[in-house]
């Protein structure tokens, strides 16, 4: 499974953009973070809705006058947009990060994957798998009961 389907819903802002602009971008796109990019769209940092709540709102800073470069997290871990699902989960574990921006061959940001995306996806897949096993058990039990106790009402 490739990560390319996560390549469309990324929000981008420049380092001098205000925290307010970052919030607007998140609100419009209904996403929880934006990637901070240079003029040539290379990733520099990341700002989440929680960063804004804790680093701007909690401290009483003016969101209009706080540039995202003051509140972003840097030292980004990125992956090529055509990387595998497994390489992303391994990187999240090894580097203890929840979000990984995806970059194209030219280094520009093209998407982002988050731990939440994966946990929901895996949770549903594993839930389906367990349902299949339990469904089989229930059918076998029912078959066994009807076989053993044909006259039971």
């Amino acid at each position: 499974m490739s990560l390319s389907k996560y390549g469309k819903t990324v929000g981008k802002v420049t380092p001098r953009a205000s925290a307010r602009e970052a919030c607007r971008e998140m609100a419009q796109r209904q996403i929880g973070c934006v990637v901070v990019v240079s003029d040539d769209e290379k990733p520099i940092g990341i700002v989440t809705d929680r960063d804004v709540a804790l680093r701007v709102v909690a401290e009483g800073r003016d969101p209009e006058r706080t540039p995202v470069e003051d509140i972003m997290s840097t030292g980004l871990t990125t992956l090529p947009v055509d990387a595998s699902f497994e390489s992303a989960t391994r990187l999240m574990r090894d580097r203890q990060v929840r979000r990984i921006p995806l970059v194209g061959a030219d280094g520009r940001v093209e998407g982002i994957v988050s731990l939440d995306d994966f946990v929901l996806l895996l949770g549903m897949e594993l839930g389906n798998l367990a349902s299949a096993v339990f469904g089989e058990l229930a059918r076998e039990e029912a078959a066994q009961r009807s076989g053993q106790e044909p006259s039971r009402r």
Binding site: G32, V52, L122, G127, A130, S131, Q144
Partner: protein
């Protein structure tokens, strides 16, 4: 299946301190930081009246251009609490989330006291938890194979 072996109280997080509906958004953010939580129950006149998340503070308060030092929690909270019982099955709680389109439920005991919260992430993480899955699946396979060896094949 899975809800039959898991109860809400096994996955829920315990209730954090609440924030008053008339407190400011800034105060709510400061409390979330101090408690290291992402959501707070909102109280007014001794009753719980809603829920506010770090995301609400960003998306509803800050993005709109309002001043977080002046906006009140009641203006950005999600009013009302969708509740489930702590001794309810997790799959029933998940169905309730789906029905109401919410990611988080307030959990009450049989005395109707708010005791915690259950989020969709809590459930997804527990399902994706390999240790839990290994246990359930190996039990299931043991039962299946035990029955198969016990039953005469036709």
């Amino acid at each position: 299946m899975f809800g039959a072996v898991m109860l809400v109280k096994q996955l829920m997080s315990h209730r954090p301190a609440s924030i008053d509906a008339d407190d400011t958004v800034q105060e709510a953010a400061a409390r979330m930081r101090a408690l290291d939580v992402g959501a707070l129950p909102v109280s007014a006149h001794g009753r719980f009246v809603g829920m506010v998340t770090d995301r609400d503070l960003t998306i509803r308060a800050t993005a709109s251009g309002a001043d977080p030092r002046r906006v009140r929690v009641r203006q950005v909270m999600t009013p009302g609490l969708i509740t489930c019982f702590e001794d309810e099955r997790v799959d029933d709680a998940a169905a309730l989330m789906a029905h109401h389109g919410v990611r988080r439920l307030a959990v009450v005991n049989r005395e109707l006291e708010l005791v915690g919260f259950l989020s969709i992430d809590d459930i997804a993480v527990s399902i994706a938890d390999a240790e839990w899955l290994r246990r359930v699946l190996s039990q299931a396979f043991e039962r299946v194979s035990a029955r198969r060896t016990a039953e005469p094949t036709t």
